[in-house]
Protein backbone atom coordinates (compact mmCIF):
# COMPACT_ATOMS: atom_id res chain seq x y z
CA UNK A 1 0.00 0.00 0.00
CA UNK A 2 2.80 2.36 -0.81
CA UNK A 3 2.93 4.89 -3.58
CA UNK A 4 4.91 4.16 -6.71
CA UNK A 5 8.14 6.18 -6.59
CA UNK A 6 7.07 8.21 -9.62
CA UNK A 7 4.02 9.43 -7.69
CA UNK A 8 6.07 10.18 -4.59
CA UNK A 9 8.53 12.22 -6.65
CA UNK A 10 5.64 14.06 -8.30
CA UNK A 11 4.18 15.13 -4.93
CA UNK A 12 7.60 16.34 -3.82
CA UNK A 13 7.96 18.37 -7.02
CA UNK A 14 4.48 19.83 -6.58
CA UNK A 15 5.26 20.77 -2.98
CA UNK A 16 8.52 22.45 -3.96
CA UNK A 17 6.98 24.36 -6.87
CA UNK A 18 4.01 25.44 -4.76
CA UNK A 19 6.26 26.73 -1.98
CA UNK A 20 8.14 28.86 -4.49
CA UNK A 21 5.35 30.12 -6.75
CA UNK A 22 2.08 29.38 -4.90
CA UNK A 23 0.83 27.47 -7.92
CA UNK A 24 1.23 24.11 -9.61
CA UNK A 25 2.99 24.56 -12.98
CA UNK A 26 1.38 23.14 -16.12
CA UNK A 27 3.98 20.44 -16.68
CA UNK A 28 3.33 18.98 -13.23
CA UNK A 29 -0.45 19.15 -13.81
CA UNK A 30 0.05 17.18 -17.03
CA UNK A 31 2.24 14.67 -15.17
CA UNK A 32 -0.45 14.36 -12.50
CA UNK A 33 -3.06 13.62 -15.19
CA UNK A 34 -0.70 11.14 -16.81
CA UNK A 35 -0.02 9.22 -13.58
CA UNK A 36 -3.50 9.29 -12.02
CA UNK A 37 -5.82 9.68 -15.04
CA UNK A 38 -9.26 11.27 -14.60
CA UNK A 39 -8.84 11.04 -10.81
CA UNK A 40 -6.37 13.93 -10.94
CA UNK A 41 -8.85 16.58 -12.08
CA UNK A 42 -11.47 15.47 -9.57
CA UNK A 43 -8.90 15.54 -6.77
CA UNK A 44 -7.79 19.05 -7.75
CA UNK A 45 -11.45 20.10 -7.54
CA UNK A 46 -11.59 18.74 -3.99
CA UNK A 47 -8.44 20.72 -3.14
CA UNK A 48 -9.98 23.91 -4.57
CA UNK A 49 -13.08 23.35 -2.47
CA UNK A 50 -10.94 22.90 0.67
CA UNK A 51 -12.51 19.50 1.18
CA UNK A 52 -9.68 17.94 3.16
CA UNK A 53 -9.51 18.27 6.95
CA UNK A 54 -6.84 16.84 9.23
CA UNK A 55 -8.50 15.71 12.45
CA UNK A 56 -6.47 15.47 15.66
CA UNK A 57 -7.45 14.13 19.06
CA UNK A 58 -5.80 14.71 22.47
CA UNK A 59 -4.13 11.26 22.30
CA UNK A 60 -2.12 12.54 19.32
CA UNK A 61 -3.94 10.32 16.82
CA UNK A 62 -4.62 11.93 13.45
CA UNK A 63 -6.84 11.06 10.50
CA UNK A 64 -8.00 12.82 7.35
CA UNK A 65 -11.59 13.55 6.52
CA UNK A 66 -12.53 14.32 2.93
CA UNK A 67 -15.85 15.82 1.88
CA UNK A 68 -16.83 14.05 -1.34
CA UNK A 69 -18.63 15.68 -4.27
CA UNK A 70 -21.96 14.30 -3.04
CA UNK A 71 -21.44 15.73 0.45
CA UNK A 72 -20.42 12.41 2.00
CA UNK A 73 -17.58 12.51 4.51
CA UNK A 74 -14.85 9.91 4.05
CA UNK A 75 -12.30 9.12 6.78
CA UNK A 76 -8.86 8.20 5.43
CA UNK A 77 -5.86 6.95 7.40
CA UNK A 78 -2.57 8.77 7.82
CA UNK A 79 -0.17 5.88 7.29
CA UNK A 80 -1.83 3.63 4.71
CA UNK A 81 -4.27 3.80 1.86
CA UNK A 82 -7.90 3.18 2.61
CA UNK A 83 -11.04 5.10 1.72
CA UNK A 84 -14.60 3.91 2.36
CA UNK A 85 -15.80 5.36 -0.99
CA UNK A 86 -17.26 3.07 -3.69
CA UNK A 87 -14.50 3.95 -6.18
CA UNK A 88 -11.81 2.66 -3.82
CA UNK A 89 -13.73 -0.61 -3.31
CA UNK A 90 -14.29 -1.09 -7.04
CA UNK A 91 -11.30 0.45 -8.86
CA UNK A 92 -8.54 -0.12 -6.34
CA UNK A 93 -9.53 -3.27 -4.42
CA UNK A 94 -11.60 -5.18 -6.95
CA UNK A 95 -10.12 -4.24 -10.31
CA UNK A 96 -6.65 -3.34 -9.06
CA UNK A 97 -6.49 -0.43 -11.50
CA UNK A 98 -4.57 2.06 -9.39
CA UNK A 99 -3.21 2.73 -5.94
CA UNK A 100 -5.76 5.27 -4.77
CA UNK A 101 -9.06 7.10 -5.29
CA UNK A 102 -9.64 10.84 -5.78
CA UNK A 103 -10.15 11.39 -2.04
CA UNK A 104 -6.74 9.94 -1.07
CA UNK A 105 -5.14 11.80 -3.98
CA UNK A 106 -6.74 15.01 -2.67
CA UNK A 107 -5.16 14.35 0.75
CA UNK A 108 -1.71 14.10 -0.87
CA UNK A 109 -2.27 17.25 -2.95
CA UNK A 110 -3.58 19.21 0.05
CA UNK A 111 -0.50 18.26 2.03
CA UNK A 112 1.74 19.31 -0.86
CA UNK A 113 -0.03 22.66 -1.21
CA UNK A 114 -0.62 23.29 2.52
CA UNK A 115 -4.36 23.43 1.87
CA UNK A 116 -5.43 21.04 4.62
CA UNK A 117 -7.95 22.36 7.15
CA UNK A 118 -7.30 21.51 10.81
CA UNK A 119 -9.87 20.36 13.34
CA UNK A 120 -9.78 18.91 16.87
CA UNK A 121 -12.01 16.07 18.00
CA UNK A 122 -12.23 14.11 21.26
CA UNK A 123 -10.49 10.73 21.59
CA UNK A 124 -13.88 8.99 21.56
CA UNK A 125 -14.94 10.84 18.41
CA UNK A 126 -11.65 9.86 16.80
CA UNK A 127 -12.24 6.18 17.67
CA UNK A 128 -15.75 6.35 16.21
CA UNK A 129 -14.47 7.96 13.00
CA UNK A 130 -11.66 5.42 12.58
CA UNK A 131 -14.00 2.48 13.13
CA UNK A 132 -16.59 3.92 10.76
CA UNK A 133 -19.29 4.00 13.44
CA UNK A 134 -19.48 7.80 13.78
CA UNK A 135 -22.69 9.50 12.69
CA UNK A 136 -21.72 11.54 9.65
Amino acid sequence: MFLPSVAEQLFQDIQKAYQETSQIPDDLLIALKFVFGPCALQALDLVDQQSVTCLSSPSGRKAFQVMGGSGCLYTCFVSCHYCPCPAFAYTVLRRNEGPLCKHILAVYLCQATAATQQESVSDQQMSALLSGTAAQ
Binding site: G60, F77, Y82, R94, S131
Partner: protein, 279 residues
Protein backbone atom coordinates in the same frame (compact mmCIF):
# COMPACT_ATOMS: atom_id res chain seq x y z
CA UNK B 1 7.15 -8.63 12.44
CA UNK B 2 9.27 -11.60 11.74
CA UNK B 3 11.14 -11.07 15.02
CA UNK B 4 8.21 -12.44 17.04
CA UNK B 5 7.67 -15.38 14.69
CA UNK B 6 11.39 -16.16 14.78
CA UNK B 7 11.24 -16.03 18.55
CA UNK B 8 8.35 -18.51 18.50
CA UNK B 9 10.19 -20.89 16.16
CA UNK B 10 13.38 -20.63 18.23
CA UNK B 11 11.68 -21.04 21.60
CA UNK B 12 9.72 -24.07 20.47
CA UNK B 13 12.51 -25.61 18.44
CA UNK B 14 12.93 -29.37 18.50
CA UNK B 15 15.45 -30.40 21.16
CA UNK B 16 16.88 -33.05 18.85
CA UNK B 17 17.54 -30.51 16.13
CA UNK B 18 20.98 -28.94 15.78
CA UNK B 19 20.73 -25.85 17.93
CA UNK B 20 21.31 -22.72 15.97
CA UNK B 21 21.27 -19.20 17.22
CA UNK B 22 18.78 -17.15 15.31
CA UNK B 23 19.29 -13.47 15.46
CA UNK B 24 16.05 -11.75 16.18
CA UNK B 25 16.25 -8.58 14.18
CA UNK B 26 13.86 -5.79 15.11
CA UNK B 27 11.54 -5.32 12.16
CA UNK B 28 11.72 -2.27 9.96
CA UNK B 29 8.59 -0.10 9.95
CA UNK B 30 7.70 -1.60 6.58
CA UNK B 31 7.58 -5.15 7.93
CA UNK B 32 5.70 -4.82 11.20
CA UNK B 33 2.67 -6.80 10.10
CA UNK B 34 2.41 -10.50 9.39
CA UNK B 35 -0.44 -12.70 8.20
CA UNK B 36 -0.58 -16.38 9.13
CA UNK B 37 -2.34 -18.24 6.34
CA UNK B 38 -3.43 -21.82 6.88
CA UNK B 39 -5.47 -24.12 9.07
CA UNK B 40 -7.13 -22.03 11.77
CA UNK B 41 -6.48 -24.54 14.59
CA UNK B 42 -2.72 -24.51 13.93
CA UNK B 43 -2.64 -20.74 13.37
CA UNK B 44 -4.40 -20.17 16.66
CA UNK B 45 -1.78 -22.20 18.53
CA UNK B 46 1.03 -20.29 16.80
CA UNK B 47 -0.67 -17.00 17.73
CA UNK B 48 -0.94 -18.08 21.37
CA UNK B 49 2.73 -19.11 21.37
CA UNK B 50 3.59 -15.71 19.85
CA UNK B 51 1.58 -13.86 22.50
CA UNK B 52 3.18 -15.73 25.39
CA UNK B 53 6.69 -15.61 23.90
CA UNK B 54 6.40 -11.85 23.35
CA UNK B 55 5.04 -11.25 26.87
CA UNK B 56 7.37 -13.56 28.79
CA UNK B 57 10.60 -13.36 26.77
CA UNK B 58 10.44 -9.78 25.57
CA UNK B 59 8.25 -8.23 28.28
CA UNK B 60 5.83 -6.84 25.72
CA UNK B 61 2.25 -5.84 26.31
CA UNK B 62 0.01 -7.83 23.98
CA UNK B 63 -3.61 -7.40 22.89
CA UNK B 64 -5.20 -10.62 21.62
CA UNK B 65 -8.51 -10.40 19.73
CA UNK B 66 -10.49 -13.58 19.12
CA UNK B 67 -14.09 -14.70 18.77
CA UNK B 68 -13.50 -17.94 20.66
CA UNK B 69 -12.78 -18.15 24.39
CA UNK B 70 -9.29 -19.37 25.22
CA UNK B 71 -9.89 -22.61 27.13
CA UNK B 72 -6.30 -23.71 27.61
CA UNK B 73 -2.79 -22.78 26.60
CA UNK B 74 -0.87 -25.02 24.16
CA UNK B 75 1.02 -27.82 25.95
CA UNK B 76 4.29 -26.64 24.38
CA UNK B 77 4.17 -23.57 26.59
CA UNK B 78 4.44 -25.41 29.87
CA UNK B 79 7.36 -27.44 28.55
CA UNK B 80 9.36 -24.88 26.62
CA UNK B 81 8.90 -21.57 28.41
CA UNK B 82 10.56 -21.90 31.80
CA UNK B 83 10.05 -18.23 32.53
CA UNK B 84 6.28 -18.56 32.14
CA UNK B 85 4.71 -16.85 35.11
CA UNK B 86 1.30 -15.45 35.94
CA UNK B 87 2.90 -12.00 35.88
CA UNK B 88 3.96 -12.36 32.26
CA UNK B 89 0.56 -13.75 31.29
CA UNK B 90 -1.00 -10.61 32.78
CA UNK B 91 0.74 -8.66 30.04
CA UNK B 92 -1.63 -10.29 27.55
CA UNK B 93 -5.08 -8.77 27.33
CA UNK B 94 -7.64 -11.08 25.71
CA UNK B 95 -10.62 -9.39 24.04
CA UNK B 96 -13.57 -11.18 22.53
CA UNK B 97 -15.31 -8.98 19.95
CA UNK B 98 -18.16 -11.00 18.37
CA UNK B 99 -18.57 -9.07 15.13
CA UNK B 100 -16.32 -7.15 12.78
CA UNK B 101 -18.00 -3.92 13.94
CA UNK B 102 -17.05 -4.66 17.54
CA UNK B 103 -13.52 -5.58 16.46
CA UNK B 104 -13.18 -2.31 14.50
CA UNK B 105 -14.38 -0.32 17.52
CA UNK B 106 -11.98 -2.03 19.89
CA UNK B 107 -8.97 -1.65 17.58
CA UNK B 108 -9.94 1.99 16.86
CA UNK B 109 -10.02 2.65 20.63
CA UNK B 110 -6.47 1.42 21.26
CA UNK B 111 -5.13 4.99 21.00
CA UNK B 112 -7.24 6.14 23.96
CA UNK B 113 -5.25 6.76 27.19
CA UNK B 114 -6.74 3.85 29.22
CA UNK B 115 -5.26 1.50 26.60
CA UNK B 116 -1.89 3.21 26.27
CA UNK B 117 -0.89 3.83 29.89
CA UNK B 118 1.52 3.12 31.38
CA UNK B 119 2.84 1.68 28.12
CA UNK B 120 1.04 0.97 24.85
CA UNK B 121 0.83 -2.59 23.50
CA UNK B 122 3.74 -3.72 21.31
CA UNK B 123 1.85 -6.59 19.72
CA UNK B 124 -1.70 -6.72 18.36
CA UNK B 125 -2.97 -10.19 17.48
CA UNK B 126 -6.19 -11.03 15.65
CA UNK B 127 -7.23 -14.68 15.54
CA UNK B 128 -9.28 -15.98 12.58
CA UNK B 129 -9.89 -12.91 10.46
CA UNK B 130 -12.17 -15.05 8.28
CA UNK B 131 -14.58 -15.37 11.18
CA UNK B 132 -14.99 -11.59 11.15
CA UNK B 133 -14.78 -10.97 7.41
CA UNK B 134 -16.45 -13.85 5.61
CA UNK B 135 -20.18 -14.40 5.55
CA UNK B 136 -20.90 -12.91 8.95
CA UNK B 137 -19.53 -13.88 12.33
CA UNK B 138 -18.42 -17.46 12.03
CA UNK B 139 -21.16 -18.09 9.54
CA UNK B 140 -21.20 -19.76 6.20
CA UNK B 141 -18.11 -19.25 4.12
CA UNK B 142 -19.93 -19.78 0.86
CA UNK B 143 -20.72 -16.83 -1.35
CA UNK B 144 -18.38 -13.87 -1.62
CA UNK B 145 -19.85 -10.42 -1.04
CA UNK B 146 -18.14 -7.39 -2.69
CA UNK B 147 -18.52 -5.42 0.56
CA UNK B 148 -16.31 -7.98 2.28
CA UNK B 149 -13.27 -6.77 0.34
CA UNK B 150 -13.82 -3.20 1.49
CA UNK B 151 -14.37 -4.41 5.06
CA UNK B 152 -11.14 -6.44 4.90
CA UNK B 153 -9.30 -3.35 3.66
CA UNK B 154 -10.82 -1.19 6.42
CA UNK B 155 -9.84 -3.62 9.17
CA UNK B 156 -6.33 -4.19 7.77
CA UNK B 157 -5.70 -0.47 7.26
CA UNK B 158 -6.98 0.30 10.76
CA UNK B 159 -4.67 -2.34 12.26
CA UNK B 160 -1.66 -0.98 10.35
CA UNK B 161 -2.46 2.67 11.10
CA UNK B 162 -3.00 1.85 14.79
CA UNK B 163 0.33 0.01 14.92
CA UNK B 164 2.04 2.98 13.25
CA UNK B 165 0.54 5.36 15.82
CA UNK B 166 1.42 3.11 18.78
CA UNK B 167 4.98 2.79 17.40
CA UNK B 168 5.36 6.57 17.69
CA UNK B 169 4.09 6.45 21.29
CA UNK B 170 6.40 3.55 22.17
CA UNK B 171 9.40 5.42 20.75
CA UNK B 172 8.64 8.26 23.18
CA UNK B 173 7.77 6.20 26.26
CA UNK B 174 9.50 2.85 25.95
CA UNK B 175 11.89 2.79 22.97
CA UNK B 176 13.04 -0.77 23.67
CA UNK B 177 9.48 -2.03 23.10
CA UNK B 178 9.06 -0.28 19.74
CA UNK B 179 7.81 -0.88 17.11
CA UNK B 180 4.25 -2.11 17.59
CA UNK B 181 3.65 -5.27 15.53
CA UNK B 182 0.48 -6.86 14.15
CA UNK B 183 -0.06 -10.59 13.56
CA UNK B 184 -3.36 -11.92 12.25
CA UNK B 185 -4.45 -15.32 11.01
CA UNK B 186 -6.63 -16.13 8.04
CA UNK B 187 -7.88 -19.38 6.59
CA UNK B 188 -8.81 -18.97 2.98
CA UNK B 189 -12.26 -20.14 1.96
CA UNK B 190 -10.80 -22.07 -0.95
CA UNK B 191 -8.39 -23.85 1.40
CA UNK B 192 -11.19 -25.25 3.53
CA UNK B 193 -12.36 -27.39 0.61
CA UNK B 194 -10.43 -29.80 -1.51
CA UNK B 195 -9.34 -27.12 -3.96
CA UNK B 196 -5.67 -26.93 -4.90
CA UNK B 197 -3.41 -24.77 -2.80
CA UNK B 198 -2.72 -22.39 -5.65
CA UNK B 199 -6.38 -21.44 -5.57
CA UNK B 200 -5.73 -19.31 -2.49
CA UNK B 201 -4.06 -16.84 -4.82
CA UNK B 202 -7.50 -16.10 -6.23
CA UNK B 203 -9.22 -15.58 -2.89
CA UNK B 204 -10.48 -11.98 -3.14
CA UNK B 205 -10.22 -11.37 0.62
CA UNK B 206 -6.67 -12.74 0.80
CA UNK B 207 -5.72 -10.51 -2.15
CA UNK B 208 -6.85 -7.49 -0.13
CA UNK B 209 -5.11 -8.64 3.08
CA UNK B 210 -1.87 -9.08 1.11
CA UNK B 211 -1.98 -5.39 0.23
CA UNK B 212 -1.62 -4.43 3.87
CA UNK B 213 0.31 -7.26 5.60
CA UNK B 214 3.92 -7.16 4.51
CA UNK B 215 4.93 -10.62 5.66
CA UNK B 216 3.05 -13.81 4.82
CA UNK B 217 3.57 -16.94 6.91
CA UNK B 218 1.98 -19.90 5.14
CA UNK B 219 1.18 -23.11 7.04
CA UNK B 220 0.94 -26.04 4.70
CA UNK B 221 0.31 -29.66 5.71
CA UNK B 222 2.91 -32.11 4.48
CA UNK B 223 1.11 -35.09 2.98
CA UNK B 224 4.20 -36.67 1.45
CA UNK B 225 5.27 -40.25 1.97
CA UNK B 226 8.10 -39.14 4.27
CA UNK B 227 5.64 -37.27 6.44
CA UNK B 228 3.41 -40.32 6.68
CA UNK B 229 6.44 -42.43 7.52
CA UNK B 230 7.30 -40.04 10.34
CA UNK B 231 4.62 -41.83 12.29
CA UNK B 232 1.98 -40.30 14.44
CA UNK B 233 3.31 -36.77 14.20
CA UNK B 234 1.53 -34.23 12.07
CA UNK B 235 4.04 -32.50 9.79
CA UNK B 236 3.52 -28.95 8.52
CA UNK B 237 5.66 -26.68 6.39
CA UNK B 238 5.94 -23.08 7.48
CA UNK B 239 6.95 -20.68 4.72
CA UNK B 240 7.87 -17.09 5.42
CA UNK B 241 7.75 -14.78 2.44
CA UNK B 242 9.16 -11.25 2.35
CA UNK B 243 11.08 -11.87 5.57
CA UNK B 244 13.76 -9.93 7.39
CA UNK B 245 15.09 -12.95 9.26
CA UNK B 246 18.76 -13.65 9.59
CA UNK B 247 20.24 -16.82 10.87
CA UNK B 248 23.74 -17.32 12.22
CA UNK B 249 25.02 -20.73 13.11
CA UNK B 250 26.77 -20.90 16.46
CA UNK B 251 29.14 -23.63 15.39
CA UNK B 252 32.73 -22.52 15.73
CA UNK B 253 33.81 -23.13 12.18
CA UNK B 254 31.01 -21.15 10.67
CA UNK B 255 32.12 -17.78 9.45
CA UNK B 256 29.32 -17.33 7.01
CA UNK B 257 27.30 -14.16 7.12
CA UNK B 258 23.62 -14.16 7.93
CA UNK B 259 21.52 -16.32 5.67
CA UNK B 260 17.84 -16.08 5.06
CA UNK B 261 15.68 -18.74 6.72
CA UNK B 262 12.41 -18.83 4.90
CA UNK B 263 11.17 -22.31 5.62
CA UNK B 264 10.54 -24.26 8.80
CA UNK B 265 8.95 -27.56 9.69
CA UNK B 266 6.34 -27.84 12.38
CA UNK B 267 5.85 -31.22 14.04
CA UNK B 268 2.74 -31.77 16.13
CA UNK B 269 2.60 -34.80 18.41
CA UNK B 270 -0.67 -36.57 19.26
CA UNK B 271 -0.56 -34.92 22.70
CA UNK B 272 -0.50 -31.49 21.00
CA UNK B 273 3.17 -30.72 21.57
CA UNK B 274 4.44 -28.44 18.82
CA UNK B 275 8.07 -28.39 17.76
CA UNK B 276 9.70 -26.35 15.04
CA UNK B 277 12.63 -27.63 12.99
CA UNK B 278 14.80 -26.15 10.31
CA UNK B 279 14.33 -28.39 7.25
Amino acid sequence: MTDILTLVFRTFMSQTDVRKELTVVPPSPASCSALLVGHSRISRSVLLLAAVAAASEMGMRVVFFTQTQIQSLPVSLQKCVPSLSPESLKKIKFSYPRTVEELLQQVAGLHEPPNTSPTPPSLIIVDRLEGYLCGGAGGSLSGFQPGEQSCAAHLSALLCDTAAFLTQLLKQRSPSSAPCRVIASFQSEVDTGQVGREASATDPILAVLDRYFQVRCTLDRDSSYEAAAAGLQDVWHVYLSRTGITEASCTEDCEDGPAVAQEWQLLISPDGLMEFKLP
